[in-house]
Subunit: 291 residues, 3 copies
């Protein structure tokens, strides 16, 4: 049993590497966090080689890589570069959580699971083409739900729905165009669950719409900055009953998100070959209790 | 009692965050220092949110923020941004010590207190319009001294004196123009204390002037790079008697400055609502003994 | 006996400070690594002053400086700036290992010492004008070997040989021009040892040439990226017999390199006045066993 300190190498495309991700890494018990900001794709290889060429095979699992930052596309590019920089068994575990999208989506779907049998549920995801929305749709589809992925543009909604279907190997995700009360009402018709994952400060769902939705049992808003995406929900809602519906706000699911984030970080150090993305991060939440 | 590691987030507008401030933070016992350089005002909010959204209310006092750097104006702007980024009780303690100005001024005034009853003293501050000079004048006025704030320009001296009076709620700080032996002699007339806080390598006070000053009891020079501001003082002077006057050089007050700096860092972690600026940092020096 | 944490200040001219050097510092037991990237020469002085003005004389040896990065010339300039920034006894230990050149050359020459009496050996260094090549030549000359420093240009080979002779105070290093089988064969004639230290992916020595070299006993290739500089050697070779010659590849000497690197880091904290360059780093390897 080695007593080498655990090291997490934080790769962040933003100019200042996220303090949020650094604090969570420390609180997950990592001994040393190496934080790199303004990381460009071509800088990844030497940083990864520094991770894999310094410790012996039995200690490789005590070094890991975290890819974060505000820009999900940039984060995904960095992750691909990380994976390409490994040399056979010379590799370390790596986690992607750009903009907290994977841990946030996982926390939202775990909150829904407390109230619904997802394999027989119908879910509407508003703001479904964004990173959190797509990941929420993917996790819901993976759990067997019928998913309605909504956007203001039918074309973009369909494209994202197709991408999720291909990723999950499912045909139960469909694109919905929602731009007024009528189209929103139609998308909500028969849905058990609505998750709002749109841009900060944009109202996506008026109160009248969701209070009238007869099948609706759970409503989750992932925006922390007022006005929230779902009118009438508060950021601190956590299984709060409103008009007979269980409501969650961003802070209400924040505790679960944080537990999942820390569990994911800790799991990186169990072996040197993990690649944590949306689904594997969701699975880690299984043992972490509810919201 | 939480056992979470203490974290100090160092925000520095300079390209390379100060190694001085990092070493002092470590030696003050901080577990983890997150050092950010080239910090611009618009980058502050997400860095602060990473501090306040990651730990529960009872652990917020185990995270704190330090604003440093060579440029005092830039540091003050960052501090204002930090304060604006807090959300009600979601806040952490913060300290400003750009260019060491607050701790240096505090150390100088503490050295003077060992020899003088400041509430009845008259003090001349040379280089009084700079950051250390203004803060020294402010602390002296706060202790009840009559303060003569000197500059080569009467206009700038008056402006700084007015600013200090307004900050302290006092009318006992006056601007003095000093540019030759006569004007310096007039400013020194009747002064018990002189503090030289001018730019590095600029002689502000010839030996003849201060050796002739009959009332003078204490002379303090805060410049570490020869030639010093007060001719005849050595950087290592520490209550050294010269012509019957107690003299201090920059290294002579350095021990007190360091103790105050460390005490200030430690006090950040006592609660989550401290804002340490010149006066509060000075008060921390009260329990730290002499120079 | 102080219990202050040990601090290594890593100065790296590259945009992202080397993760390799950070991991090795941690594994050498350093408590805190301050990593600075994009370090320019004019930024060195304040960073050094932060190291020497913060801890008392008895604790100065618990802070040290490491200069690394890919660019050896830039690293040497930073080292010179570090040395100029010290003020008499106010100094800390410092190590230069830009691009791993010093530790790699030391590991290669230590591998050769396992098989040869260097004081009576003749050595050929291919790629001898590069940083690792020059340092290998220097260490071999220092051990008393006859050294043939080879390059594709006679002029550059001679210039580097002259520089090494002056550094060591020897006249036993000569420049060789090698560009085809005949010139390589001539350079190998009578050599006991060949070290290949050229650019990655460039073949410098065909298999026929070295298998025909009658005097040759040891062949060392320091390139980790295929094709290697010496045809027929494998990166993992470690005293591997090939055609009666003891062969080493880059990974084969990597264990020794790592031990030397860590021993060098640890030695920095034994006193506050060490300056570790090629020769002193080589000497540290004496107690570290073989490859």
């Amino acid at each position: 049993m080695s007593d080498r300190r655990t090291i997490l190498i934080q790769l962040d495309p933003d100019p200042q590497p996220s303090s949020f991700d650094r604090v969570v890494a420390i609180d997950a018990g990592v001994d040393e966090v190496f934080s790199y900001g303004s990381v460009r794709a071509e800088q990844v290889e030497p940083l990864v080689h520094g991770a894999i060429f310094t410790r012996g095979p039995e200690d490789l699992k005590r070094t890991a890589i975290f890819v974060g930052g505000m820009d999900v596309a940039a984060g995904e590019e960095l992750l691909q570069r990380v994976l390409k920089s490994f040399i056979g068994p010379m590799r370390v575990s790596v986690m992607l959580d750009a903009n907290g999208a994977n841990t946030t989506a996982a926390a939202a779907v775990h909150a829904a699971r407390r109230h619904l049998e997802l394999s027989s549920a119908t879910a509407l995801v508003l703001g479904g083409t964004g990173p959190v929305g797509q990941r929420s749709a993917l996790l819901l589809a993976h759990q067997g739900a019928d998913v309605r992925l909504a956007s203001r543009s039918q074309r973009r909604a369909d494209a994202a729905a197709t991408a999720v279907c291909e990723a999950v190997g499912s045909d139960r995700v469909s694109g919905y165009e929602t731009y007024d009360d009528d189209t929103i009402g139609a998308a909500l018709e028969g849905a058990d669950l609505v998750i709002s994952a749109g841009a900060a400060g944009v109202r996506l769902l008026p109160r009248d719409c969701w209070e009238d939705a007869k099948a609706l049992k759970v409503a989750i808003d992932l925006n922390a900055v007022p006005p929230l995406g779902i009118e009438g929900i508060e950021v601190v809602d956590k299984a709060t009953e409103r008009s007979g519906i269980s409501c969650y706000g961003a802070i209400g699911v924040g505790g679960t998100k944080m537990k999942i984030h820390k569990a994911a970080i800790r799991s990186l150090f169990e072996s040197n070959d993990k690649v944590l993305d949306a689904e594997t991060i969701f699975d880690l939440g299984m043992g972490e209790g509810g919201a």
